[in-house]
């Protein structure tokens, strides 16, 4: 399920505090899954913190969101800076769907001119990627396809039982 969250940046928060708000949002969403520990999520996002803060301060996240792909959660997070940040109605609570997540990746944007710095900073880091995130429609299509197969199997079983 696709969700979008906006986080108020400066002048509401410093860049470092804004990134911390993003860390908490992602952690609180994913740690609802019994297969994921909040500690692991927080550690991964802490590793991305230096470039995350830089992306916030440069206003890059206003236009290029962080994307969390954690089926069934597809969460895009952007920031709002300037006057609009002061009147933003934020929803930073856990995003629905986190309880069934098993795999997750946080995709960081790589806008010019800081793209290389982002790639370099997170190279080899678990659960972080500087690649283009998969489209939400792609993951949804995959789930629907899987669901269809399961339904057909159930129908076949039911047909056999009725004979």
């Amino acid at each position: 399920m696709q969700r979008h969250r906006q986080v108020a940046a400066a002048p509401h928060r410093k860049a470092s505090e804004t990134w911390e708000a993003i860390e908490k949002l992602v952690t609180s969403t994913l740690e609802r899954s019994p297969r994921i520990t909040g500690k692991d999520v927080a550690a991964a996002l802490k590793a991305a913190s230096p470039v995350g803060i830089m992306l916030v301060a440069g206003g890059h996240l206003d236009k290029h969101p962080v994307v969390v792909v954690a089926d069934p959660v597809y969460l895009t997070i952007s920031t709002v800076s300037g006057d609009a940040a002061l009147s933003l109605d934020e929803d930073l609570g856990p995003v629905p769907g986190g309880t069934t997540v098993t795999e997750w990746t946080v995709y960081l944007p790589t806008p010019d001119p800081v793209g290389d710095a982002v790639r370099s900073a997170i190279t080899g880091a678990a659960h972080l990627s500087a690649d283009e995130p998969p489209g939400e429609s792609t993951t949804k299509a995959a789930r629907l396809s899987e669901g269809s197969v399961l339904d057909l199997d159930a129908l076949a079983n039911r047909a056999r039982e009725s004979k």
Partner: protein, 168 residues
């Protein structure tokens, strides 16, 4: 002045400081990245520098933030200055704005620097600032012989505005 109005003014001054600090730090990161200068130490010290600059803008001691690029041959260029202009009282209709689109176009025109160029961030003051962790006395490189180009106002907030000057 009533206690209520004092409180409101302080609140907005803090917001001005947070906003202009974000813009200056983000711009420094973008410029260094554009020039392909290693920014590892920038983001390592980010919180410390962010706190210091915000505190100095809030107390109105900061005159300008200066980014100096130190080339391997000993030349210091370019130098980018971010002067802060304070308003005597918060302007009621002033808003928090930054001209990031113009900055992106301007940034692309910066003259490249050789590999191995490092950088330094220096703050100058109009009055004695409150000491901040990680910051100590220093001196600026000479700007003699450098040509100055003015970008103009980079960001504006109710209690202050931030400009950019490029010396090369």
């Amino acid at each position: 002045m009533s206690p209520t109005s004092t409180s409101t003014s302080t609140y907005t001054r803090t917001k001005t400081a947070v906003y202009l600090t974000d813009v200056v730090m983000g711009t420094i990161a973008d410029i260094l990245a554009e020039l392909k200068i290693d920014i590892t130490s920038l983001y390592r010290d980010w919180k410390q520098d962010e706190s210091a600059i915000a505190a100095w803008i809030e107390e109105e001691s900061l005159l300008q933030v200066v980014l100096e690029c130190h080339q391997p041959n000993g030349t210091t260029a370019p130098i980018i200055e971010f002067p802060v202009a304070y308003r005597s009282s918060g302007e009621g209709d002033a808003t928090f704005t930054a001209d990031r689109a113009s900055l992106a176009r301007y940034r692309a025109k910066l003259v490249r620097v050789p590999a191995g160029t490092t950088y330094g961030i220096i703050c100058t003051f109009k009055v004695t600032p409150t000491p901040q962790p990680g910051w100590g006395p220093g001196h600026r490189a000479s700007t003699e012989g450098l040509k100055s180009l003015t970008f103009g106002t980079l960001a504006s907030a109710p209690h202050a505005a931030l400009a950019l000057r490029y010396l090369r």
